[in-house]
């Protein structure tokens, strides 16, 4: 059995058990990873022999210490990588997640540690925003007219859905057409001009693409 296949399964089990607060069944696992139950069972039996897990009554999959350690470590690598790829490198979230699925098996523990520390630095992007702590990322209103920008994240209460619908979502490139004295702005996104009032513009975090 390939290491990556083993790690993927362990990761999926970790995700499911953390989420449901109980060990998942084989059926749940097969739905989650879109593989037929029979195939999953085969692989699980192999892994049971390797001491990664035990299949309990009712087909519940219980991870051993060894399996749980590996699974959690892969899960964490996935999260860190995906955050890095989408938040810092600006990849499409779907693509970032798929890429993370590939990289997570080969990346060394040290690289992940360093990446994680990089993401959590004061200027760090993903994590701090998520927890709603004060952060000092540049927003739309801090750039001069004519800037070409890329959206890092959008955090506003309420009007967020409308912004996503108009194409204002993380990763999208926009152009700042006008700013008024009060910081109301007009931006060009997907070929359309959209006016935003200051309170909306100030919750759109952007950066200048290199």
């Amino acid at each position: 059995m390939k290491t990556s296949a083993r790690e993927d399964l362990l990761e999926a089990i970790c995700v499911l058990s953390r989420h449901n607060h109980e060990p998942p069944t084989i059926d749940e696992l097969s739905v989650h990873i879109s593989v037929s139950p029979a195939e999953v069972r085969d692989q699980l039996l192999t892994m049971e022999k390797q001491g990664d897990l035990q299949i309990q009554s009712g087909d519940r999959i219980e991870l051993t210490d060894q399996g749980s350690r590996t699974g959690c470590s892969v899960m964490r690598k996935h999260q860190v990588l995906e955050c890095f790829l989408s938040d810092i490198l600006g990849m499409d979230p779907g693509a970032a997640s798929e890429e993370a699925c590939i990289l997570e098996h080969d990346i060394s523990d040290e690289t992940v540690e360093r990446l994680d520390r990089y993401l959590a630095r004061p200027r760090g992007r993903g994590r701090r925003i998520q927890r709603g702590r004060p952060y000092n990322l540049p927003t739309l209103i801090q750039f001069p007219e004519g800037s070409e920008l890329r959206i890092l994240s959008v955090k506003c209460s309420g009007g967020c859905q409308r912004l996503s619908d108009m194409g204002i979502f993380p990763g999208e490139r926009i152009k700042l057409i006008h700013t008024l004295n009060n910081k109301a702005v007009v931006i060009q996104v997907k070929g359309c001009d959209i006016a935003l009032s200051p309170e909306i513009a100030s919750c759109i975090f952007v950066e200048k693409p290199e």
């Binding site: 925003i129 009032s197 909306i200």
Partner: protein, 617 residues
């Protein structure tokens, strides 16, 4: 059979609708909402078809009343076939909505509108390819020139089919969809909606809420954002594939000037002032003419008829109401709407809203709130109808107060008619300043005390275009018809009631009762208070009644300058006219209407009393 037109705002849907249906159009509210729907009939091969123009939306999964309405409309299968109108110049953003629409798997055809403008921008779109990707018929069209419009209905009737295009979502989202479906028997679409908190299946939504945090933690953005992102990427890919190398969209210099920091606000103020002046000039000329004609050909012959006093009184009230309605409707309101529709169709109105955002902010509203306030100068009735465009109830409440206080053309008639003539032009202007001051003050206070959420402005600037006169006329007509069919009947009924009361001698009783109060508080004689009462019916009627009751048009011989001034201030401020009250009740409900009426009543009397005290002192 029923067909529905669906698309983004500003894609030319309404134009196509009018070209397909002609003039027999009915505007009605969708049941249970305040959203307007246009319905029209047409005949094709001896079959009667109903065409519905759905409001322009950006998404089928939002929570604005329009979006919810369109979603329900599609889900409830209220139309057998949908006609999706896409803007060829903004294909990518339009495809985003189309990809959502495709998930409903309803039979439809696509009209790719504005092909002419796209060609002008140097953008070519491979219609065949687009059609094969989407899996439905795509009709290239240019509604402004009428190109291919005739082909829409035959295609919709014979070749509409559900689209084949699908969005593949991020695998976490797909997994969540599968887990919801494995627990609850529902379609992919319903599961996807549950993930975004839409739908009536509470168990599915609870399940989705449990699944969402994990996905959000992994992606560091909300599930809705991920889904929107996936759709945008798909739309981008399709747009890229079917349109050839597009040039960078050039920014027009006129546009830059109109929204520039330095000149934009100046141009806005000049534009608005010149419209107000033009409307007032054209309006008063036309009004004089219309009223004169009506007087000689209808009222004078009627008065000459030998009738009993009661029918005569009632008949006269009816005719006077008709005369007033027409005398204000066409000269002032229609002219005003012509200008406003012109501004709207040229794309300037959205720019005006953007420029005004800052000032409107202090009044507790956003840029969009400027539009009803401007409309209020013509007539409060259509302005109150315009309030429905505002997004939150909070803004609507604030706007209903402020709009009711805006001096409409009828109030301008009073100020110009007595204060400017008998007291002086500076005094007349001071009344405007008092009114504006009070509007601003009211806005400042209301913005603090009105409950409710506050959204910012997110407004797409419509592209600048040369407006088509035919469309401007049509739009003005639809707007004025609201006045004619809603405000006019109220005006006539109220006029009849007052006519009857006058006949029954109610006014003499009222006058006796009100005289001591009126003299003590406002320093006005009793008949002036009665005249103010008439002002509720129709603002400028207060002036006419005053002249009749005073027995002379030379007011300074019976009233002092101070009294004339107080009379004008009170009649401008207090209680919106009966038609405005009627429309307010429809738009914001009875409670707010009552509050607005009480507030303006108290405010009017208070300010009148204050001025009176100042004069005596």
């Amino acid at each position: 059979m029923r067909l529905g037109l669906i698309g983004n705002p500003n894609v030319g849907k309404s134009l196509i609708f009018h070209q397909l249906t002609g003039l027999g159009v009915e505007v009605s509210n969708y049941p249970g909402t305040t959203v307007d729907l246009m319905r029209g009939n047409l005949c094709f091969k001896n079959e009667r078809l109903e065409l519905v123009d759905l409001p322009g939306i950006y998404s089928l999964e939002g929570d604005s009343p329009e979006e919810v309405m369109v979603r329900t409309f599609i889900q409830e299968r209220e139309a057998e076939v949908l006609i999706a109108v896409l803007d060829a110049t903004r294909l990518e953003r339009n495809l985003y909505l189309f990809l959502q629409l495709a998930e409903y798997e309803k039979p439809l055809v696509v009209v790719l509108n504005m092909m002419d403008e796209a060609a002008k921008q140097g953008r070519e779109i491979d219609v065949e390819k687009l059609s094969s990707i989407l899996g439905v018929e795509v009709i290239p069209a240019a509604a402004i020139q009428g190109m291919n419009i005739a082909g829409i209905i035959p295609a919709a009737l014979s070749r509409a089919r559900p689209p084949k295009v699908h969005v593949h979502y991020d695998h976490h989202v797909e997994a969540a969809i599968r887990s919801i479906q494995s627990v609850q028997p529902m379609t992919r679409l319903q599961a996807l909606q549950a993930l975004q908190g839409i739908g009536t299946d509470h168990e599915a939504i609870e399940l989705a809420e449990a699944l969402a945090p994990e996905i959000e933690e992994m992606h560091r953005m909300s599930v809705s954002q991920i889904i929107a992102g996936n759709r945008h990427h798909r739309a981008h890919a399709i747009a890229d594939e079917v349109s050839c190398e597009r040039e960078e969209v050039k920014h027009n210099t006129l546009d830059s000037l109109l929204t520039s920091r330095r000149f934009g606000p100046l141009i806005l103020v000049i534009t608005l002032l010149s419209i107000l002046c033009a409307v007032f000039l054209i309006g008063s000329l036309l009004e004089e003419f219309l009223v004169g004609v009506f007087e000689t050909i209808v009222i004078a012959p009627f008065l000459a008829l030998p009738l009993d006093p009661l029918p005569k009184q009632l008949g006269l009230s009816f005719l006077l109401a008709l005369q007033a309605g027409l005398g204000i409707a066409f000269p002032f309101i229609f002219t005003f709407y012509l200008f406003i529709s012109l501004l709207e169709d040229s794309g300037y109105l959205t720019r005006a809203a953007f420029l005004a955002d800052r000032s409107m902010h202090h009044l507790g509203m956003h840029g969009q709130g400027l539009i009803p306030l401007i409309l209020g100068f013509g007539c409060n009735v259509p302005a109150i109808m315009g309030i429905r465009l505002l997004r939150t109830r909070r803004e609507r409440i604030i706007a209903s107060f402020l709009v009711s206080m805006v001096p409409c053309s009828a109030r301008t008639v009073i100020v110009a008619g007595i204060v400017a003539v008998f007291v002086g032009i500076p005094a007349a202007i001071s009344i405007y300043f008092i009114t504006f001051g009070l509007i601003i003050l009211t806005g400042l206070v209301l913005s603090r005390i009105t409950p409710g959420e506050q959204y910012g402005m997110i407004l797409e600037l419509a592209p600048l275009r040369a407006p088509l006169i035919r469309n401007v006329l049509l739009k003005s007509w639809y707007r004025i018809s609201e006045f004619l069919f809603i405000a006019m009947p109220l005006l006539i009924v109220a006029s009849l009631i007052l006519g009857f009361l006058q006949y029954a001698g109610f006014f003499n009783v009222f006058q006796e009762m009100i005289t001591p109060l009126s003299e003590a508080v406002l320093g006005l004689p009793g008949y002036a208070a009665t005249a103010l009462l008439f002002g509720i019916l129709r603002k400028e009627m207060a002036l006419e009644t005053l002249v009749i009751l005073a027995g002379t048009a030379d007011l300074p011989s019976v009233l002092s300058c101070g009294q004339i001034y107080i009379f004008a201030v009170v009649s401008v401020l207090f209680i919106p006219c009966i038609s405005t009250i009627g429309v307010l009740a429809r738009v914001v409900g009875a409670r707010i209407t009552l509050l607005v009426s009480l507030y303006t009543l108290v405010l009017g009397i208070l300010i009148g009393a204050l001025i009176n005290m100042l004069i005596i002192w």
